[in-house]
C-alpha cells in the first residue's frame, strides 16, 4: 500500500485536527459543568483518530453522516469552532441557526450531512448520498459513521444490503468504543461484528481506531477503490470514549472500571502516541507540537467567549424553515 500521507504537512494536519477535536470537547464539557450550555452533549474524546484518519482521506465534496457523538466528525470534516460553539449554545450564528444543537450539527459546505440523534438513523442518508453520487456521476464517496450500538438497528442491515446490491460508493465506519450507552457491546451484539457486513458480500476491514495513520492509510485505499466502483466497504474501528455516554454520565463504575479507563488514556491515547511518532521520526519537535496545541486551545477559548456573547435567534425564527421555499 502506498502511503500518501508520508509528508510532513499532512502528518501535522492530522495532529492538528485531533488536537482541535480534543480542545473543542474539553471546552464543551466545561460549558456543561459550568451550566452555560442548554441540554446535554456526548463527548468524542478518545476517538479522535477515527474521525481524523477517515476525514483526511476525503475531499470537501465527499459526504459524511454523523451520530449523536458527532462533534469529532464535524471538526474533522473542516468545521469552524465559532459556528460550532454557537450551535451548541443555541445561538443564531450557529451552523443551524441554533435549531439543531449538539446532536444535529450539519455543515453542508464541507459535506457534513448532519449528526443524527437516532442511533443508526443516518444509515439511509449516507447510502442515499452514495446513490446520488453514482447516479449523478459526481465521483463522490460517502462515509456513514455509527457506533457499535447501531449494530442493533435493522435500518443498517437494510441499507448495507442495498448498497451491496447496487455497488454504491459508501463506507460504513463502525466505531466500536465498547459501550452502547451504559452497556457492554458483548451484551448487545451476538456473534462476529465483521460478519454482519461480510454476510452481504461487503469487503470488511478491522483497524486500530487509536492509530490515525493506520486509519488514514486504510481509508485512502478504500476511498480510491470506492470511486472506481468497487464499494461499498465496512470498517470496524476499535476505539474508546474517555467520558461517559453523555457529559452527565459521571459515575461509570457500575459498567466499566476506572482501571480500564486509565489504561486506554495512558497507553492507547491517539494524540500522545502520534506525538511520540512525530518526534521519533523527526517530523516535528515537542516544542513545535506544544505550540500548535496552545494555539488551538486559545482559538477554542476565544470561540467559546464569542459564542457566549453571540445573539440568540430572534423569536421570529421559530416557525421559519419548517418548509423550504419553492
Amino acid at each position: 500500500m502506498t502511503d500518501k500521507k508520508d509528508n510532513r504537512e499532512s502528518y501535522l494536519q492530522m495532529f492538528k485536527q485531533m488536537v482541535r477535536i480534543r480542545a473543542f470537547e474539553e471546552q464543551a464539557n466545561q460549558l456543561y459543568l459550568s451550566a452555560k450550555m442548554p441540554g446535554l452533549t456526548h463527548m468524542y474524546v478518545g476517538q479522535e483518530a477515527v474521525a481524523v484518519g477517515i476525514c483526511e482521506a476525503l475531499t470537501p465534496n465527499d459526504k459524511i453522516t454523523s451520530t449523536h457523538r458527532g462533534h469529532g466528525h464535524c471538526v474533522a470534516k473542516g468545521a469552524d469552532f465559532k459556528q460550532m460553539f454557537c450551535e451548541l449554545l443555541g445561538k443564531e450564528e450557529g451552523y443551524c441557526r441554533g435549531k439543531g444543537g449538539s446532536m444535529h450539527i450539519a455543515d453542508q459546505a464541507n459535506g457534513n450531512l448532519g449528526a443524527n440523534a437516532i442511533v443508526g438513523g443516518s444509515a439511509g442518508i449516507a447510502t442515499g448520498a452514495a446513490l446520488s453520487a453514482k447516479q449523478l456521476g459526481s465521483n463522490e464517496v460517502s462515509v456513514c459513521f455509527f457506533g457499535d450500538g447501531a449494530l442493533g438497528q435493522g435500518l443498517l442491515y437494510e441499507t448495507m444490503n442495498m448498497a451491496a446490491l447496487w455497488k454504491l460508493p459508501v463506507i460504513y465506519a463502525c466505531e466500536n468504543n465498547l459501550y452502547g450507552e451504559y452497556t457492554k457491546v458483548e451484551e448487545m451484539a451476538a456473534g462476529d461484528l465483521m460478519a454482519r457486513a461480510t454476510g452481504f458480500g461487503i469487503e470488511s476491514f478491522e483497524v486500530d481506531g487509536q492509530d490515525v495513520l493506520a486509519v488514514n492509510n486504510l481509508t485512502q485505499e478504500l476511498v480510491e477503490r470506492a470511486r472506481k466502483g468497487h464499494g461499498p466497504f465496512f470498517i470496524l474501528l476499535n476505539t474508546y470514549r474517555y467520558y461517559g455516554h453523555h457529559v452527565g454520565d459521571i459515575n461509570r463504575e457500575y459498567y466499566r472500571s476506572k482501571e480500564e479507563e486509565m489504561l486506554w488514556r495512558k497507553e492507547r491515547d491517539p494524540i500522545t502516541n502520534f506525538t511520540q511518532l512525530l518526534v521519533e521520526k523527526k517530523i516535528s519537535t515537542p516544542e513545535e507540537l506544544k505550540s500548535i496545541e496552545r494555539e488551538i486551545e486559545t482559538e477554542a477559548e476565544e470561540a467559546v467567549h464569542y459564542a457566549l456573547d453571540a445573539a440568540w435567534p430572534d423569536a421570529s425564527e421559530v416557525d421559519m424553515h419548517v418548509f423550504a421555499s419553492n
Binding site: A106, Q108, N161
Partner: protein, 327 residues
Amino acid sequence: MREITFGAAVNEAIAEEMRLDERIIVLGEDVAEAGTPFKVLSGLVEEFGTQRIIDTPISEPGFTGIAVGAAMTGLRPIVDLMFGDFLFLIMDQLCNQAAKTHYMSGGKLNVPMVLRTNMGATRRSAAQHSQSLHALVAHIPGLKVAMPSSAYEAKGLMKTAIRDNNPVVIFEDKLMYNDKAEVPEEEYLINFGEAEILHTGSDITLVATSSMVQQAEIAAKTLAKQNISAEVIDPRTISPLDETTIINSVKKTSHAIVIDEGHQNYGITAEIAARISEKAFYYLDAPVQRFGAMDVPVPFSPALEDLTVPTAQQIHERAISVLEGKI
C-alpha cells in the same frame, strides 16, 4: 375531453416530470417490470430504464432512508410505498429524518422527495392492508400531505408534489385506480392549499377527502332531490389546508359535516371540525359533525368491513338530522 383512469393519470404525471428533470428517480418494491401490484407504474421502466426506476428489496425503512439521503444530495426521488399501512415501518425515516432536516439544519438542507402510497378499505384486504393513515403524517410539521379524489387531481397534485422542494406524502385511494375522469392533454398543476368546491350549495357544507368525495357528491345529489342544497368541498391537500374556503362556506350554510376515511378518533375530521368551530362558531345552527371510519381495526369479512366506512346514504341521513336539529 379525453377520459383516463386515476392510475394512468399518476403514471402520466410521473412520466412527464421525469422527461423534464433527469434528477427524478422512482424507487420501491416491484416498481420496474412489475409496475407495482396495481400496475400504476407500468411502462415507466421501458422508457426510463432500471437506473431511474429502481426495484428495491422489501426494506421499507431502508429505501425510504436512502431516498432521504438522495434528496439531500441532488436527486428528486419518488418513493413508492406499496401500502399505506407500511407507514408504520418507515416512521423514523419519514418523520424524524425527512420532515425535520430542513428545520434542524437552519434551512441549509432540503429533502425534495415524494412518497406515494395508498389508503382505503372495502377491498377485502383486512386490517394491515386497508388503513387510511394520513392523519399520522399530517400531524408532523415539515410534511405536506395531498389526497387526490379523481384522475384529474391525481395528475395535477402529483406534478406539483414532484416540483416541491419538501417531502410530500400523496395518498391514493386504491379503489379508485380504475376510475376514469376528464384529464386535459395539456399540462396543468394543482396548487397545494387550494380546496375545490365541487358542488355549490347554500344549506349545508360537506367537507370530504379522497375516497369520501364521491360519497359526498352522491349524498348531495340525493339531498338536491329533496330541495336541500349541499356544498361539497374537497380540500385536495390536508397539509397545507385551505381553511378559508371551508370557513367561508360554513358561514354561508351554517351547517357542516366533515367526512374522511381515516379513523374518526383524533383524525382529520376532528381537526377540520375544530377549525370550523373556532372560526365560524357564531354562524353555526347545529354542532359540526365528524364522520370518519369506525374506530376498529378494519375487519376482513365483507359483512363487517362495509360497516366501517362512511357511505353516501349515511352522509345523507346525517345531513337530514343536522338540518332538522336532531343532533
